[in-house]
Every structure is written in structure tokens, then in C-alpha cells.
């Protein structure tokens, strides 16, 4: 079955994300273990909390091993917030461990000189063009984080908090959002829709009325 697979690994609440997918009319399954993964369609890796705690939780459930394999087979993967950071090569939050390495770069602590966590609405700007994501033209998105991925040449959107950081990353069908599109009003919802559509998610067709 083709559906969005929402990884549920006890790192953050899925209620808002599920609500957003319902409003977008996108079918999804909530998967606690890898055997619950839909047979095709994008995989969404959400997450809030500590890098290492999340990594361990994914490892225990078998996702940490599986995700690179699925990506190698061409499966689209979207990381949100901590989910994006886990896709990177590593994080200053957990210097003794590594990330999934699906997006190059290191996640570094924000600051000094600014309030951390970076919490609230910030504007994003385009850094490089992407087939699915429009020029945000200063759109406001909601962020909650203390660490951020360093920007690279391929970074799609940038945001600033003391320094510029990667707000949206894409490497082929692997994408990452540092902001929470599901918490970013209508703008965020549109962005989530565009990203998931590009990754192959299709809206469910409403059933025909029986007449």
C-alpha cells in the first residue's frame, strides 16, 4: 500500500503532524516498528528532544539500520526538526555518536549572543532553487531548536538566528525541515504538501456518493 509512513518512536508528539496530514487528505500509517512501514510512499521522521535519546530509540526499534537501506532503494525520506538533524553526519549535542549521514554536514549549537532555544516564528529565504519548493519570499515558519545544521551549497532555505543556518535541506529524495511545517499555519501546510507531493504522496480520492 502506498501511504506516508510516520515513524512513531516516542520522540515528540505526532498529533499535530497527523492533524496536518488529515487536513491535506494524505493517507498515512503510524509505524512503531519497521514491519509497519507502508510498501511504498514517503517516510517521515519527526522528532523533538535530545539527539542521542532519539538515536538510541531509533536504534532499539530497528529504524536506524533500516532507513539508509530504504533511502538506497530510492525511498523518499523527510526529517522534521530533530528528524532533520538526525539525517546529518553528527551533532554537537552528542559528540560521541554519529548521525545517519544521509545529508552531509554537522549540527552545531546556536549562539552565543542570541536566546537559545530559538523558539518562535522566523523568516526563511531561498538559498538554492528546488523543483518542488517555491521561493518562500520571507515566509514565516515556526522553529523550536537549540542546534542547527550548518548551511551547504545545496541548502534550499536559510533562516537566521545569530547566524544563518539550514532551514530546509534536500539531497535527492531525502529532505529535512528544521522548522515545524505542521505548526506554521497555512504557509507551513502548503510547504509540507509540496514536499510530500514531490516525494510521491498522493491525496486520497474521496469516495463517490452512492447514488
Amino acid at each position: 500500500m502506498s501511504a506516508i509512513t510516520l515513524i512513531d518512536y516516542d520522540a515528540g508528539n505526532l498529533a499535530s503532524l497527523e492533524g496536518a496530514l488529515e487536513r491535506l487528505n494524505l493517507p498515512f500509517v503510524r509505524a512503531v516498528s519497521p514491519d509497519q512501514t507502508a510498501s511504498s510512499g514517503p517516510i517521515v521522521l519527526p522528532g523533538v528532544g535530545h539527539f542521542e535519546a532519539a538515536r538510541r530509540s531509533l536504534l532499539e526499534r530497528g529504524w536506524w539500520q533500516l532507513l539508509p537501506e530504504l533511502v538506497a532503494e530510492g525511498r523518499p525520506l523527510l526529517g522534521i526538526c530533530l528528524g532533520l538533524q538526525l539525517l546529518a553526519e553528527g551533532s554537537e549535542e552528542a559528540p560521541r555518536t554519529s548521525g545517519l549521514g544521509l545529508i552531509p554536514g554537522i549540527v552545531r549549537r546556536l549562539g552565543p549572543g542570541v536566546k537559545v532555544p530559538h523558539m518562535g516564528w522566523s523568516q526563511v529565504r531561498q538559498a538554492s532553487a528546488h523543483p518542488a519548493l517555491p521561493d518562500p519570499d520571507g515566509a514565516w515558519l515556526y522553529f523550536v531548536h537549540s542546534y542547527a545544521l550548518e548551511p551547504a551549497a545545496e541548502t534550499v532555505y536559510l533562516a537566521d538566528h545569530g547566524r544563518p543556518f539550514a532551514a530546509v535541506e534536500a539531497r535527492g529524495k531525502v529532505m529535512g525541515f528544521q522548522p515545524h511545517p505542521e505548526k506554521s499555519g497555512p504557509t507551513g501546510l502548503l510547504l509540507l504538501q509540496s514536499a510530500l507531493a514531490w516525494m510521491g504522496a498522493t491525496a486520497s480520492v474521496p469516495e463517490a456518493p452512492c447514488n
Binding site: 508528539n13 488529515e22 532555544p117 518562535g120
Partner: protein, 250 residues
């Protein structure tokens, strides 16, 4: 710098949003989801729900409306009221709240703040503090919905909360609350020295009051009646603040 945030505050009792009129009957304003939807559309940046009659018995009711709100809302929200353990907070966060607010329980047992920050990250922990100015002693902390004075100095407690791991302070001036005379600006000047975001509460009556509070270091401003009654529509307030060169999400 992130945008300055406009936050409507909703008091909830037994699963309904109520308007508290002091010493009088509470007026029913609707289901939390209805108001959440309305404020989402109006352009609120965040919502705060305070469960004013939190008890063990209504815990299930609360989880149900928190879950409903999370599914409907496309902006973040905080839930507070009677949160006194990691388990209380977990149930709210699992139901979909983005943050939990603690007040009296944290003052009685400050370790609660560290425990919450350790368990969920400090971005999930809002420390609500009610203060009132004593002519001789300065601002003092009050507990239990402002009914119980303490001899704790407000500024000391704010810094302690920061050190314990609070991610944000929701600071209510009881002197100004309900007056419509404007926020307590000298209080905000002191509190905005904190390295964590500050939500100013108590005293909003006019557009200019919000501007003053934000210029005095608040990162966000909270109000209830003014928004609930439609006296000051959020789009109008935001347009006014943006015209005054504040960073506002429009």
C-alpha cells in the same frame, strides 16, 4: 530575532473555555477547539490554555480536548494548570501540546522544572509566575492562582527558574491584570535581562500597551478578554505593531 508573538490566553474549566469574572459566575465561551480554530484563522502566533479547575478527576477530559486542539490547530500551544509531575506533563505532550506551563508546583518543588527539562527539553517548559509589587519589598511571587503570597522576590525566582531549566517565562503582573492600564514596564525591564524568552501578561487595554511591552524586552505578549471579546482584533493589532517597525508575522 524571531517575530514578536501575540498569544491569546484561554481559561478552560471542565473542557469548556470560560471567561472568569471575579467573584461572579463564569461565562461559557465555547469548546477549546472552536476558539483555537478562530484564533488560528485570525493570525495568533501561539495559544495558551490554562485549566483553571485541574483535578485528578478531569484528567481524561483534559487529554481529550488537548488531542482535539492539536489535530485542528496549525500553530503551537501551551497547556497549564495543575501540572505537578513528569507524568502529568507527559500525558499533555503526548496528547499534542507543544509545551506545558508550571507554576505553583514548581515553586513548591523547584526540582520539577529540571525533571521536565531533562525529560522533554527545556523548550517544552514554560514557567508561569504571578507577581505583585509590595511597596517596601518590591515584586513578590504569589502562588495558587495569585491567592497565596510568598516572601520570594520575583527577580530571584525568575533567575532560579532559568537556572533550573525553564525554556520560557510567562510573567503576570497581578497589579495590572484586568486593569487595561498597560503592562508593568519596570517589571518587564528587569525580567527581560533573562536569557530565555519572556511572555508579558497582565494589563493590556490598548494597542500601544503591546508596543510598549515589546519595546521593554518582552518576546511575546499575552491577553485574554481583549481578544475574546473582539475589542482588539489580532489582525489590527499586528498591523499596528508592524507599522511601528516590530518584527511581526503577518
Amino acid at each position: 530575532m524571531p517575530a514578536k508573538r501575540i498569544i491569546p490566553c484561554l481559561d478552560v474549566k471542565n473542557g469548556r473555555v470560560v471567561k472568569g469574572v471575579q467573584f461572579k459566575e463564569l461565562r461559557d465561551l465555547g469548546h477549546p477547539v472552536e476558539l483555537a480554530r478562530r484564533y488560528d484563522l485570525e493570525g495568533a502566533d501561539e495559544l495558551v490554555f490554562l485549566d483553571i479547575a485541574a483535578s485528578l478527576e478531569n484528567r481524561g477530559t483534559r487529554e481529550a480536548w488537548v488531542r482535539d486542539v492539536a489535530r485542528e490547530l496549525s500553530i503551537p500551544f501551551t497547556v497549564g494548570g495543575g501540572v505537578s509531575s513528569v507524568e502529568d506533563a507527559r500525558s499533555l505532550l503526548r496528547a499534542g501540546a507543544d509545551k506545558v506551563a508550571v507554576n505553583t508546583a514548581a515553586a513548591l518543588r523547584p526540582d520539577l522544572v529540571c525533571e521536565l527539562a531533562d525529560a522533554f527539553g527545556r523548550q517544552c517548559v514554560v514557567a508561569a509566575v504571578d507577581v505583585k509589587r509590595d511597596p517596601d519589598l518590591g515584586w513578590r511571587v504569589y502562588l495558587k492562582g495569585g491567592t497565596e503570597p510568598t516572601d520570594r522576590a520575583a527577580v530571584d525566582w525568575l533567575w532560579e527558574l532559568n537556572d533550573l531549566g525553564a525554556g520560557e517565562i510567562l510573567l503576570t503582573s497581578m497589579d495590572r491584570d484586568g486593569t487595561g492600564d498597560g503592562f508593568d514596564l519596570p517589571l518587564l525591564d528587569l525580567a527581560s535581562e533573562l536569557p530565555i524568552p519572556l511572555i508579558a501578561s497582565g494589563g493590556a487595554g490598548l494597542e500601544v500597551h503591546f508596543l510598549e511591552a515589546l519595546e521593554h524586552g518582552a518576546d511575546a505578549v499575552l491577553a485574554a478578554t481583549l481578544f475574546h471579546e473582539g475589542i482588539l482584533p489580532i489582525p489590527r493589532l499586528k498591523a499596528y505593531l508592524a507599522q511601528n517597525d516590530l518584527s511581526i508575522r503577518i
